[in-house]
Symmetry: C2
């Protein structure tokens, strides 16, 4: 099973694809650039989705569903939005098929041509704000705190499973507020929800900060973001939270009567994370044996492999294991027993290692005699015996330990590969070996563009805890307006 | 709030739309025929979805996600499938927009025309079986028990919120098996899951049976179905489970090595329910005051309305209610406190009645003095006082009672409106007053078509418990091949 996985160090991008294929996480669909999320990959996405959904609801949000189809004219309403975004879209022009004359094939019926073309949503600000116009009249109708779980489409030329595909799954929050302060508070709150889920659930440490003007979302006043470091030391944007001001409200004429009985435009936010996070998990935690899943998102946390000699009866072994398995399930541990016949234990070990299951229990006749279960940790590779009695208590503890250990390994990796640069030569040499670079920036788009042109590094974020005092721009040498983090990114 | 709801008896279809609008369940989207599912409607859908999802997983199924986009050529692979289905589709022909020359608008870039048009999925058999071909080699790879929660598109001319819209949400199960017997068992199992959720969770009684040849799914060998009776005595198809035989496996060349080392085509099933079920809930349980929700699917099961006189302090009342509310929440009851200021209790009563919340608790100063809460049941309209102590025990019991009472009311309604016909005149007079008609059918499509042409009634199903012995066809007078249920349907 593990055969054929290209080592990470040899070809990172081949390694990534190999893991996805071998762990059966996803596959390309028949239309170029589309992705099939296979059950094991989807199980991980369900864990991630549920973790976010719970927190969205705990912070007062409700889910809704808006249409996939957007009239073409909507996309030109918010000028910046269309300028900076959404040119690569799937366009629906016809609404009927018919049989070909020979009766064997099928063709598009030209008579079904639409008067106005329809766009498959690349994001839903426009369609949602066209509805908010109908729903909002007074401050009493505010805030609206809506989230949607949906598929979106952006036609991509160069695709990569989970990271960039024509269609992907995501959540998009779209909120409407009576004041700027409230909307900004919401933008901050949701970024903090993102940070918390990434770090505490996905065990992925992230930088939090603000995007520069050139990197922000088209139509936003401010874009806040979380940025992770992948195993190849490049950055991966993992989630964004936008303060949209009154831009969309103005484009869609969404006014309300405020408490002072005056008319004002509504203030907006939007925020999203996507199936890209499954890619982040693979890239941050994976190794040359495959995936390593943090227990909190693992569809299977503990796999039990009974080792039965050919033609032997497995029922005694299963009776032996039964009390432990029930106790673990009662403690909320997701246990799976792999009792597939005619497969060698070695094959199974490799398969579950590839799939990143945090703990593997192997139990044969001798373990049963000793009253033990043989335990293997996926994160460290450690193997040890546990008495059957101890196991039901020890395993939930081990899962917590593995969750923390994966986070700390990733944190350490990021620390090792984060550098401060004070000269341009230093900057260039760090870009070459990879990693995050903290340095001063004069705040101009010109400098940003020049650095990008010369090194391919971009400003990942202006960290909330920046301290630009007394430092100079790494490129222009002028006084720094911000202390920023540069890196190459996916 | 209740003002403006057309009485059911006056105009059923206007009543339906009014309830959806006033209860804020859904709205039409900007593109003709599309639907926005508003938070309250989506909350109901989440309850329905979760009830199914749990049962799918309990019966060994896993979720996955397949692409929205299907190459046009796929739809012509299964001849019957395309013949009977899917002509009204959204067709994607271009993949890029560009700014118009004046820079103010946006237009489709003609250079982005696709070589082969892409169809937005109307259902996913074809794309899924194209993937199964890659994943299935041997009987060891079977069964595949996959479900998908997704949006699908069927271009509809005459739309109706929840019942028929261009885009809707659904689940579609697609399973692959090594034998016909196993696949047929799966088809039956999933129909039983559907029946159980409809009756035990949605409180909607359903007939179970098989579709006639002319009513079955295009590409299926057999279509099993559940059929509900709406408040206008018409039938509503609420879910279908198809035995597909080897039709799709043959179309997509999906062969496997069976246990005897011989090659065979894989056997298939597919099954689905959709957001149409929200429509079923409204139509089966609603009354002239709006929705009546079965507690198991109600986003809010108990609404608490503190009655505070203008400028009075509500904190004493809230302190009084706090222990009851906590106890109810601890028992898993979904409680909502409506403490919106500047709104009259009467307005709130109407709003929550419209939204179908099963139990309303009204509490004012006098109730507090008496140590009581005033209780109103949405299903029967009964109102009575409960002591605060009794309420925490009595309310969960009441919710069960309401769940049963709604089911029984619907069951009674169906019984009253189900008739047996033995002459053609009898048949026609029953069709006129509405309801289900049990009668004999000679099994020919000819008879079926003639009955439909003359009365608009169709065979809803051949019930599993049919008894055709000794009866004659209601139309031709020949010996009945089946005892069937006819009705007009949505």
């Amino acid at each position: 099973m593990a055969k054929g996985v290209t080592p990470k160090s040899e070809d990172y991008s081949k390694w990534y694809t190999d893991v996805i294929t071998k762990a059966e996480l996803a596959d390309y669909g028949p239309v170029k650039g589309t992705m099939v999320i296979r059950p094991y990959g989807y199980g991980i996405w369900e864990s991630i989705r549920d973790a976010f959904d719970k927190r969205f609801k705990d912070t007062g949000h409700v889910n809704a569903y808006f249409p996939l189809f957007i009239p073409k004219s909507f996309l030109s309403k918010e000028a910046e939005h269309i300028e900076g975004f959404a040119k690569e879209c799937a366009v629906v022009t016809h609404t009927r098929l018919k049989s070909t004359e020979d009766g064997k094939g099928i063709e598009v019926d030209p008579a079904s041509k639409l008067e106005e073309e329809i766009i498959v949503r690349p994001t839903s600000e426009t369609v949602i704000w066209s509805m908010y116009k109908k729903w909002i009249n007074s401050y009493r109708d505010l805030p609206i705190l809506i989230n949607q779980w949906a598929n979106v489409v952006r036609w991509e030329m160069r695709t990569r499973l989970f990271l960039r595909t024509s269609e992907f799954l995501w959540q998009e929050g779209h909120t409407a507020h009576a004041t700027e302060a409230e909307a900004r508070e919401e933008t901050d709150r949701m970024l903090e929800v993102y940070r918390e889920v990434l770090e505490d659930v996905l065990a992925v440490p992230v930088l939090t900060g603000k995007k520069s003007e050139s990197e922000k979302f088209a139509g936003a006043i401010d874009t806040l973001c979380i940025e992770a470091m992948k195993g190849d030391k490049k950055a991966l944007q993992a989630g964004t939270s936008h303060y949209l001001g009154q831009n969309f409200a103005k484009a869609f004429e969404v006014k309300f009567q405020n408490e002072e009985n005056k008319e004002d435009y509504v203030y907006a936010t939007s925020w999203g994370v996507s199936t890209r996070l499954v890619g982040a998990l693979i890239m941050v935690h994976g190794d040359d044996k495959g995936l390593r899943l943090p227990p909190k998102v693992a569809p299977i946390q503990v796999v039990v492999i009974p080792i039965v000699r050919k033609d032997d009866d497995s029922s005694e072994l299963m009776d032996y294991l039964h009390p432990l398995i029930s106790k673990l399930k009662d403690s909320g541990v997701r246990v799976h027993v792999d009792d597939r016949p005619k497969m060698s234990p070695g094959f199974k070990f490799n398969e579950w290692e590839m799939k990143g299951v945090p703990i593997r229990l192997e139990v044969g006749a001798r373990d049963m005699e000793n009253g033990e279960v043989f335990t293997a940790r996926r994160d460290t590779g450690e193997k040890f015996g546990l008495t059957l009695d101890a196991a039901s208590v020890k395993i939930p503890e081990l899962l917590d330990e593995i969750q923390n250990s994966l986070f700390n390994q990733a944190l350490e990796f990021r620390a090792e590969n984060t550098h401060t640069a004070s000269t341009w030569d230093e900057f260039k040499s760090i870009v070459e070996k990879g990693g995050f670079i903290k340095c001063g920036w004069d705040g101009t788009a010109e400098t940003e563009n020049k650095i990008k042109a010369e090194t391919k590094a971009t400003i990942r974020c202006i960290p909330f805890d920046e301290d630009p005092s007394g430092i100079n721009c790494i490129f222009s040498g002028n006084a720094a307006k911000h202390q920023v983090v540069f890196s190459k990114a996916y």
